[in-house]
Symmetry: C2
Subunit: 392 residues, 2 copies
């Protein structure tokens, strides 16, 4: 499954520096080396202790799934939207560990009310956005009483089987209000994926037939959390700092990322590695398309603005909610699963303008505040910064 | 401060019984006696380990506060609404322990996003509704730069001093959406207390001058959590089961409460005591007024429908949000602080009709589901029941 990591030629480390982080890096730092001695902590544990992997192995396992997914078996079939497929991708690779499929009602309710899930052993993991699959009344009628369904892509090709299914109500208004803190019309994800969706949600355990690919020339950048962990281990990283973005890298970003590395070195880490992690799923129409962003990110490495030796560029397959303080938790939590133990958070993360009022939807400082308080993210070191106004 | 507990003459225990609880009492029972031997657990610990008490002692402490609150000192003054005063009452007696005053921003954000607060030792307490004090722009201007303010009742009498104050934005839309799961117009608490309130919130530590009284003939029923704990200890209760209601007791309620006691006895408890706990703060216009409800509750005890020997009737001073699954957590958490280790939850607790659609605002089962999942309520035994449709 692992794609090859792009390897631009190593170039010189940028000398630009900023001191913007100086006052903030002391926030919630754990697992630190004492003095200047190197202490290997290994990579941070994924949520739930084990990285979830829901893709069948090639061979007998995949073949069995394919046979079961064939029309002849008569299993009910659900066609996935583009966003649904992105969530299958996210779930299949364990970005949402310990989730093993689309949320059941107990997970959905905990997500809406508490932004976290209680594990059977009593521990808490963060989970702030609902990863759910909606169906309409007629689909519900055709599925009820059946234990599993086949999920199809846009071309009617079977992608996965959802088993041990559970169907429950999709109260859209409540979901939107509790996730976005508003029900104003015009929220991009809501318009794209919720407003017209069915009134029911179907949860269950996913069995994915083969790795999700998009054949857009960018699949090589879509490293799974397992791929990333392997790469960080290969590079002997003793700290991994993740930077989520959905726009081109600009000078402020680059200064910040280089400065963060410098600070981590000063703190005693010997080999901090940057995970430059553009979001690759659904984004609103006026965001820069992924293909252009990736070209720009490649240039940034080629030109040595960021050091390719200590930078891993990869695509985060999640769709974008634009849900501010709620969503930034998801952005951070998923990077824990990919091995990051430091997370850089900027001004108004995952924010946008209010859809019908002349103001930002979220308080610009709430993202980093909420992130620093979020249950289940205690093990992550949050690095707030204030270089300039960024849109990440 | 303790009021005398009303003591109707003991009458015979009702023989009516229901088996409605049979399937549910096994849910989350902890601290149980083994076999039939009596095991004293003591009362459940209040949240944060210590019951908060914010009322000055009569004498030097109260006098000092009164002097400080006098107009001559020039401290800024804020006039409280009826609901604000009810929250001062709630806070002053420790129903919201460990809160020590109106919420600061960190508490407000945790409440909105996580329905719980992290304590300095890393433990979690539940806190699902925002207990906040709103001020407008001109009040903010007059207060800024000052460390404390005087809070006045409707007659301009000083009630409390709020110290170490913090002023932050009151994003009403976000508060409403995250608390109620809707922003539809017509939510009673929102119309009464939020829509017209100021755009800022002021948090801080409360110092209350004397116990809050209403002089409505019902103050004798307003027992504080400390009073209730004392009463439960006096009665030698080894289990306290709380029943929140905001309507007259009907036969279904009575059957349920008696049946709960029977089940607790069967489980090995020797002296389970019922806390019959009508909500006494703000309710919507079409709810039965408190004075009539209390008359009815008195009759229920006098007539022996409930056994006065094993029942404590008291008024819970909180205002009502009608926020369903979010609010029921507050109703349960506050009763932990009063010593209850069992909480009875019915269908659609704290629910109401959707203000503009022809349906219930909340799924009737979400209240008990959310309650059973809520962070910080793990120590409480949740007793769901389905006798009939109740409005509590």
């Amino acid at each position: 499954m692992a794609s090859l990591l792009p390897k631009p030629s190593p170039l010189r480390f940028s000398q630009h520096r900023s001191h913007a982080l100086s006052d903030s890096v002391a926030v919630r730092l754990r697992c630190l080396p004492s003095g200047n001695r190197r202490v290997r902590c290994g990579l941070i544990n994924p949520d739930g202790g084990k990285l979830v992997h829901l893709v069948a192995s090639a061979g007998a396992e995949r073949d069995a799934l394919l046979r079961e997914a064939a029309p002849a078996t008569g299993l009910p079939r659900i066609k996935l939207s583009r966003i649904d497929l992105e969530w299958v991708h996210v779930l299949s690779e364990g970005w949402a560990s310990p989730l093993r499929g689309f949320m059941r009602e107990a997970e959905f309710l905990q997500t809406l009310h508490f932004n976290c899930l209680r594990m059977p052993d009593g521990s808490i993991v963060n989970m702030s956005v609902a990863i759910v699959l909606a169906i309409d009344d007629s689909q519900k009628r055709s599925i009820e009483g059946r234990g599993r369904v086949v999920l199809l892509d846009a071309g009617d090709k079977p992608v996965a089987i959802l088993k041990d299914i559970e169907i429950y109500k999709h109260n859209k208004e409540e979901r939107i209000a509790r996730t976005w803190g508003t029900t104003a019309p015009g929220l991009p994800y809501v318009e794209e994926s919720i407003s017209k969706a069915g009134n029911w949600l179907i949860g269950g355990n996913l069995m994915v037939i083969e790795p999700i690919k998009y054949d857009d020339g960018l699949d090589k950048y879509r490293l799974s959390p397992a791929d990333l962990r392997e790469e960080f281990m290969r590079r002997n990283a003793d700290a991994v700092f993740a930077f989520q973005l959905r726009n081109p890298v600009h000078n402020g970003h680059a200064l910040l990322m280089n400065d963060t590395r410098r600070h981590l070195l000063e703190m005693g880490y010997k080999n901090p590695v940057l995970l430059l992690h553009p979001l690759g799923g659904y984004t609103k129409a006026d965001d820069v398309p992924l293909i252009w962003r990736m070209k720009q990110h490649e240039k940034v490495l080629e030109q040595g603005v960021l050091d390719p030796e200590t930078t891993v560029v990869s695509i985060f397959p999640s769709p974008m909610h634009y849900a501010g303080p709620t969503e930034v938790q998801w952005h951070a939590k998923s990077r824990i699963n990919a091995g990051a133990n430091f997370y850089i958070v900027g001004r108004d993360p995952a924010g946008m303008g209010h859809p019908i009022e002349k103001r930002d939807l979220y308080d610009a400082d709430h993202g980093k505040k909420v992130l620093s308080m979020a249950p289940g993210l205690e093990k992550l070191n949050i690095l707030p910064f204030k270089v300039c106004k960024l849109s990440i």
